[in-house]
């Protein structure tokens, strides 16, 4: 049986859930299709960083838009998502790295962005007292913070459902086709038809785009994270390193999340990842050197979430360059979580109004097809 709806969203990550919610807020009746369950992959198991800091310039406007929503997330979702704003700090471990930081902040300022602020050694020590004495400074983005990713994604899903979205979990979207002005998608023995289709399928989105004639350079990756037992409170902001792969965050309950982008081997078809402990050992060593207070902590668990990474590390976001009614929202390349709330809002504007005030022009899928279009 075919059900007619206003929009079909494929993928129950934070992006698909956020877009579904914002479509509901705009008065549409969307259906969200998720092959596992909302937040099963990267959206539910990422580091939870709500970060404007150190972003690629083309996505900064979207990130700033998103930050405004994060700061009122409870109003939107009736769920605080465990969002806390203690800033995010990029640590320069030597003068050379600090010089790079200085140049970066100057570049942003010239473009009119002021969220990143250069800090010296004493301000760094004030923000992150536990950091090694030798670090000369860094960059802070004071409004940044962190949230609980699974809680957040689930909250978006729940709110969308409350506002009238249909959520189909546990069955993959199949047989995607366009006919008579409508997109048709099968979900098991059911079918949905809508004038709008949003491809927010994360690590699986590249295949969908390719099948619809818009192949993009994307790979599937699985960044690893590990979490420690509870240790006494010693740090508030999220800390990332300029020169080495490390991100670091202590939760209210004392546990410490250690990430940084070392990759597991992913077996996408099986929803499975195999961890690389020799790489995780590097992260452990970095923490060991930088934060002596952590030396006695135990590692309780490590994991990795499957997601899409674009060749240029910038998401694919916006209308299709080939098909009417098709929109892409994927490839967030290890930094999509913070963008979720804003991207959903902007996507809904694109769909409902045909445009948005938020600058997203460098994120479109056409950037990969320009030569072909000529």
């Amino acid at each position: 049986m075919t059900t007619n709806v206003d929009a079909i969203v494929i993928g129950g990550g934070i992006h698909g859930c956020s877009t579904t919610l914002h479509l509901c807020l705009a008065g549409l009746k969307p259906v969200l299709i998720e092959k596992d369950y909302a937040g099963r992959h990267a959206s539910g198991v990422n580091a939870g960083g709500v970060r404007q800091l150190a972003r690629h310039i083309p996505e900064i406007p979207l990130s700033i838009r998103s930050m405004g929503i994060w700061e009122k997330i409870n109003d939107l979702l009736d769920d605080d998502c465990s969002f806390e704003s203690h800033g995010q700090v990029l640590v320069a471990e030597n003068e050379e790295e600090l010089a790079v930081c200085r140049a970066r902040v100057a570049e942003l300022n010239a473009l009119g962005f002021t969220h990143e602020e250069l800090i010296d050694a004493s301000e760094l020590r004030r923000l992150v007292p536990a950091v090694a004495e030798t670090c000369p400074g860094g960059v802070v983005s004071r409004r940044d913070g962190a949230a609980n990713p699974a809680q957040t994604t689930t909250a978006f899903r729940r709110k969308a459902e409350q506002l009238g979205a249909t959520v189909r979990e546990g069955v993959a979207a199949g047989n995607i086709r366009y006919s008579d002005g409508l997109w048709h998608v099968d979900v098991g023995s059911d079918s949905y038809a809508a004038p709008v289709l949003v491809n927010a399928a994360g690590a699986w989105a590249g295949k969908i785009a390719a099948a619809l004639g818009e192949p993009v350079p994307v790979e599937t990756v699985a960044p690893m994270l590990m979490i420690t037992s509870r240790v006494p409170h010693f740090i508030d902001p999220v800390v990332i390193l300029r020169g080495r792969k490390l991100s670091f965050k202590q939760f209210k309950n004392g546990t410490v999340l250690i990430g940084g982008g070392h990759l597991a081997t992913s077996y996408q078809d099986r929803n499975e990842t195999v961890l690389d402990w020799k790489s995780l050992a590097i992260s452990a060593r970095t923490v060991f050197e930088l934060f002596p207070v952590m030396r006695g902590a135990t590692i309780v668990r490590a994991w990795a979430g499957i997601e899409a990474k674009m060749k240029d590390d910038i998401p694919v976001f916006g209308p299709s360059s080939r098909h009417k009614g098709l929109y892409h929202q994927f490839g967030f390349s290890l930094h999509g979580f913070q963008l979720g709330p804003g991207a959903g809002a902007v996507m809904a504007e694109l769909i409902v109004n045909g445009g948005t005030q938020t600058r997203i022009s460098d994120l479109g899928i056409e950037r990969f097809h320009r030569s072909a279009a000529r």
């Binding site: 937040g39 030396r295 006695g296 590692i299």
Partner: protein
Amino acid sequence: MSVAPKREDYDVVVIGAGPAGLAAAATSAEAGLSTLLLDENAGPGGQVFRAISSTPVTDRSQLGADYWVGAELVQSLRASTAEVIHRATVWSLDRNLDIAVSIGGASAFVKAKRVILATGALERPFAIPGWTLPGVMTAGAAQTMLKSSGLVPDGRTAIAGQGPLLWLLAAQILRLGGRIDRILDTTERGNYLAALPHAFAFLTSPYFTKGLSMMREVKAKVEVVSGVTELAAAGEGQLAGVSYVAGGKRETIAVDLLLLHQGVVPNVNLAMSAGIEHRWDDLQLCWSPVLDANGSSSVAGIAIAGDGAGIGGANAAVVRGRIAARAAVEALAPAAAAKLPALATLRRDLAKAERGRVFLDTLFRPAPQFRIPSGDTIVCRCEEVTANDVLESVAIGATGPNQLKAYRRTGMGPCQGRLCGLTVTELMAQARGKTPQEIGYYRLRAPVKPITLAELAAVPKTEEDVKAVVRG
């Protein structure tokens, strides 16, 4: 002093030195395969034969003849070329058969052509009101103290629950001069009837006469209350008493120690973290790995033997260990397999060892109220989550154990679900009107036992790391 593995690669790595692991490692090594046996305890034996080489209990009758069978297994292992490392905690195993093991505070990595998991069983969670109070412990923990150190309870003690091990423990405590004031038997009356059709097999099994005489021995010395339908431990910060309902009558007794036990279930953590498929076992009410007749799992190269393959008891574990090892030998050194006992013989041994199991599983199937707690009873002790908390999360959209983590952090503490996993699955299944199989289990990840950051940091450097340092 701790010794790291001598090699980086082995034909066979056996994990766990209980009955299955001892038998598997000896079989594999005798056939000429390079064999490493890794075991978490100070000596061989697992739980059944715990401290078999070191127990201070010398009067053989006190621990029973079945216990001392372990000594023979240990002897044949020691006579083989198997490399054995104790106090070795395997904290990671993956589908590439890469194994990470912590020995004496340092981690080593080894690779195997075949892995035989013999990680045995855990006690089933027994979440009654007050079960987290100091003074309440599992029967298994009490048995560990008894076997390793000859320690038995001397205060006012009650044992509550059911199952063969409960009676064995009671008999062992009494023989060693320990004190038991009362046994509260929670076996459901209906189970006797349900088990009846399987009684013939049981009557002809070795368990029958032993079990019966043990129960008789215990009942001669301790007051046993049967048909207990409700159970609660109480006390202010410390156990003071246990109250129970039997035959519709409530009674409270003052005790200093309450030992709880309602059977054992496969210890699935390492197997699940390796990606091995498990299914809900409706008879044993637990997760069991999907295995073929040789014990091979869904992950190529990994076999499971012993109670980790589904509860079968020590005798079955020994045979399953030999069968799994034989399969490894067949695959890696077919010529040597000819010298091992024929598969048909082993299968016959297994059938004999498993006889009567269905009767036990049916008779000692724990009652729903002791598996699925309600109200303020703690479900997850690491995060202090109650049954009500779980139900509230279900009401607002948590659909399974993994989603529940986002709401309540259940299963995310140091026990990694060992103490709450089955309870959470069954509780959510009941609340959502689904089967446990549909509800599923926590996705388990390494390290399956916590390791210190310092230990991980000390892992030998890779080339990439050396480059990073040069650049830095």
